[in-house]
């Protein structure tokens, strides 16, 4: 493993064109650089939203409020949600790892439409700028929650119009990326890379891309209708004009529930790449995992109204949506069983990426199982719109997608930057993160069972103790995050040089130098077998 794969091409991190430095990055069409542009932008947004969450927890340390006003608090949770969802979790893994690794994993030099790819990033940044502007212009930051429920979103004096427009613009970035990935997977697979020889990350990205392409236009239109309603009073959602507030909820969730799968499917893809590499054996049940991704994408499009069980839907639709919700839980369970079985009779090399991948499985199981609780109608009536939901979706979004993103960063870090981080420092960051995470979000779920509604500026005295527990948890969590990213940022500049294949992986990205050359491969490889063949490796190491 000591031999660096010889290559004539310079690394993608070296500027070779006429433009240098920042300008070279801002005009790049290299999928790897674009992936990093997304990463840097999104981590910035992530930390802003973490800061907002931190302040919200401080506010809940007391049963009275002095720090900030109710209006500010309502703006904080709205902005926290909008940033986390639209600027971090939804674009997250596809935009970063999808861009960086999809072409490499299928043996291509770039995505199908490199310029469109750069445009997608600019559209994303434009959306982000509108989102930031909405905080400081018009009537101030929106205070409706990230769901923008009508008629409140139509009547509030805050700057909902611009925030909604920002989400609309961001939707285009998501759709364009989806089109790009679908085309890339169909057209640019290396010779011999049959569908069932693709690494499972590609299947996850493929399923995701279809949801992005098919579901995003619905929310885009819905958000345009909100803007039209605010400016021209067209009366689609406003009951005073004969509109229907439930129509808004339907249209919103027809996108926003599948969006949950846009967030989680790529995360599952990352985990599916990591586990075989450290178990040194093929993934258990390749086809089962590939098909479960597609069926999550399919069935997941038919469950949106489980966000509306208490809104007064008919008995029949409530029953059907509950049933479909239960069915969509099955493919996720299949994946969990397959991941765990992949450890069976492996030869496990325990490394930081595996620790975070297993943490993902644990936290995602809690998130999934509490999701099943909400799918059960009799329970949903109690816990809907309480802190239970808030705790649950943080388990799925942060414990799931967030942890997978962290695991992916640890896994691909040596490849992306050609340097290695301190493993001890990463292990040290895991403890406060894990303990703080569970105190914070499990605490929230207990609060929800007790009857604490979400989006409350002040809380009743009986909820106080658990609020304090959750807030203390948030301090540990933030400490862990700072240690984690501190370690990585240090390693980015000062880390020791990484080998081409530090983990002994067998997918294509580990056959090229670290960091990868500009066109990825000297020569496009020809694929003769499935993605997780470890046998031929044994002689080498």
């Amino acid at each position: 493993m000591s031999t660096q794969a010889s290559t004539a091409q310079p690394s993608y991190l070296v500027d070779t064109g006429t433009r240098k430095g920042l300008m070279a990055w801002l005009t790049t069409t290299d999928h790897k650089r674009i992936g990093l542009l997304y990463l840097y932008a999104m981590l910035t947004f992530f930390f802003v939203a973490v800061g907002i969450g931190f302040v919200m927890r401080l506010v809940q340390l007391t049963t009275f409020q002095h720090l900030i006003t109710a209006r500010t608090y309502n703006a904080l949770f709205t902005v926290h949600g909008v940033i986390m969802i639209f600027l971090f979790v939804v674009p997250g893994i596809p935009a970063v790892f999808g861009n960086f690794f999809l072409p490499i994993l299928i043996g291509a030099k770039d995505v199908s439409f490199p310029r469109l790819n750069l445009l997608s990033w600019y559209v994303f940044m434009a959306g982000a700028i509108f989102a930031v502007l909405s905080l400081f212009t018009g009537g101030g930051a929106p205070d409706t929650g990230w769901t923008f429920y009508a008629p409140f979103s139509l009547k509030t004096g805050t700057n909902v119009s611009l925030a909604v427009f920002a989400a609309f613009v961001l939707g285009f970035s998501s759709m364009l990326t989806g089109i790009n990935f679908i085309t890339t997977i169909h057209r640019l697979r290396a010779p011999g890379m049959k569908w069932f020889r693709m690494p499972l990350m590609c299947w996850a990205l493929y399923s995701t891309a279809w949801i992005q392409l098919l579901a995003t236009p619905i929310v885009a239109i819905t958000l345009v209708l909100v803007i039209l309603e605010r400016f021209f009073g067209i009366g689609i959602f406003d009951p005073a004009k004969g509109g229907d507030p439930l129509l808004y909820q339907h249209l919103f969730w027809i996108y926003s529930h599948p969006a949950v799968y846009i967030m989680i499917l790529p995360a599952m893809g990352v985990i599916t790449e990591i586990i075989p590499t450290f178990a040194k054996r093929p993934i258990f049940g390749y086809k089962a995992i590939a098909f479960s991704s597609m069926s999550i994408a399919g069935v997941g499009s038919l469950v949106w109204a489980h966000h509306m069980f208490t809104s007064g839907l008919s008995s029949l639709s409530v029953m059907l949506f509950s049933l479909l919700t239960m069915i969509v839980a099955v493919p996720s369970a299949i994946k969990v069983f397959n991941w765990v079985s992949t450890l069976y009779k492996g030869s496990i090399d325990f490394q930081p990426p595996l620790l975070f991948a297993l943490t993902f499985i644990f936290l995602f199981c809690i998130g999934g199982l509490t999701g099943v609780m909400q799918g059960a109608l009799a329970i949903n009536v109690h816990i809907h719109d309480t802190y239970f939901i808030v705790g649950h979706f943080h388990y799925v979004m942060f414990g799931g997608t967030g942890m997978a993103l962290f695991a992916g960063l640890l896994y691909w870090f040596p490849k992306m930057w050609g340097r290695m981080y301190s493993r001890k420092a990463i292990y040290a960051s895991w403890f406060p993160m894990f303990i703080g995470f569970n105190m914070l979000y499990f605490g929230m779920m207990i609060l929800g069972m007790m009857g604490m509604p979400r989006r409350y500026y002040v809380h009743l005295p009986q909820f106080h103790f658990m609020h304090v527990v959750a807030t203390v948890g948030s301090w540990f969590l933030v400490l862990g995050l700072l240690m984690f990213f501190g370690t990585l940022i240090y390693a980015m500049f000062k880390g020791e040089k990484a080998e081409d294949n530090p983990w002994g992986g067998v997918t294509l990205e580990w056959t090229i130098p670290s960091p990868p050359p500009q066109e990825n491969f000297e020569e496009i490889p020809t694929i003769t077998q499935g993605p997780y063949h470890f046998v031929q490796q044994e002689g080498k190491s």
Partner: protein, 318 residues
């Protein structure tokens, strides 16, 4: 524990499903986690240097597709049937019109009586016809495990039959504006004859549950200084402390004689807290709001004697 208090039939129905799913979930989570840790230890590189190249097993795939499917379907069925029970009110239920508005609840009974808290006789089905006059709100009684949204232009219904006497929180669960978190009320469950005495009584029939609410706040009012007894009985102490601890509203400790910034019609003024200020702010809370606090205090009618007692008591807190 107080918060798992089941105070209605619906709470029993909801909790039964919850404990079923919770039990299954714990088993599943413990199983997966144990297996994961066991494999990592048992098949570590040291103990197991050569990995077996297993690609999968169709029988196992079928097994772990079928078992979760059956499990989830049973959860669906149990959840659905109990939900149907919680949703469909019996025919003899008393129908109460619940009106939600920014940011309060009001209740109207079949004979036209109205109230700001919901009175309910124990052991009788009560049907809630929930409406909203402005935004979407959520009508939520945690002790009953009951929730239904108040959607403008619609009437959504639910029902309950209380199984315990007591006072239980009503909370709004859908973000509806600045004071969403203050959109609270109570369900006061009383014995049936007490409810009837109020329901069939005239205009000035005393509201039921007074004794209950006062007793809950403090079991023995007689032994308290008269002013504190009034503050306790009227629920003032929910938001105002007497020991300096800040709550929803400012503390009454060392209040008298203090220089205080207040908002009067949107303008900030500094006033000295004296008898006149206290009397005015208690009788008309909205006139002057202490800076930094929500304008949340309701007007609570006091007799002159009660007002005197309260003011005298506040002076003693310095």
């Amino acid at each position: 524990m107080d918060w798992m208090n089941q105070a209605a039939l619906s709470a029993q129905k909801s909790d039964a499903v919850f404990f079923y799913v919770f039990g299954l979930s714990v088993v599943f989570l413990v199983f997966i986690t144990t297996l994961m840790i066991y494999f990592v230890v048992r098949y570590s590189k040291k103990r197991h240097p050569k990995a077996e190249q297993i690609e999968g097993h169709v029988g196992l795939e079928i097994l772990w597709t079928t078992i979760p499917l059956v499990m989830f379907l049973s959860i669906f069925y149990y959840g659905w049937t109990n939900y149907e029970y919680m949703r469909l009110a019996p025919r003899d239920a008393m129908a109460v019109k619940v009106t939600a508005r920014q940011w309060s609840w009001s209740f109207e009974y079949p004979n036209g009586k109205q109230s700001k808290v919901l009175f309910a006789p124990i052991g009788r089905p009560m049907k809630m016809e929930v409406r909203s006059v402005d935004m979407v709100h959520g009508f939520f009684v945690p002790a009953f495990r009951l929730k239904i949204d108040a959607v403008p232009s619609r009437t959504n219904t639910t029902w309950f039959q209380a199984t315990k006497v007591g006072s239980f929180d009503i909370e709004c669960t859908v973000i509806c504006g600045v004071d969403h978190s203050l959109m609270l009320s109570k369900v006061i469950v009383v014995p049936e004859d007490e409810f009837k005495a109020w329901y069939f009584g005239g205009e000035d029939a005393p509201e039921p549950g007074k004794a209950l609410r006062a007793a809950e706040a403090h079991p023995d009012l007689g032994s308290l200084p008269p002013g504190l007894a009034v503050l306790t009985a009227k629920g003032c102490l929910t938001c105002h402390s007497v020991d300096g601890k800040p709550k929803v509203g400012p503390t009454l400790h060392a209040l008298y004689g203090r220089e205080q910034e207040v908002l009067v019609a949107g303008n900030t003024r500094t006033v000295t807290v004296d008898d006149a200020f206290l009397r005015r702010t208690i009788t008309n809370p909205a006139d002057q709001v202490v800076r930094g606090y929500p304008p949340a205090m309701p007007r609570i009618p006091l007799t002159d004697q009660e007002l005197d007692d309260v003011v005298r008591y506040i002076k003693t807190l310095n």
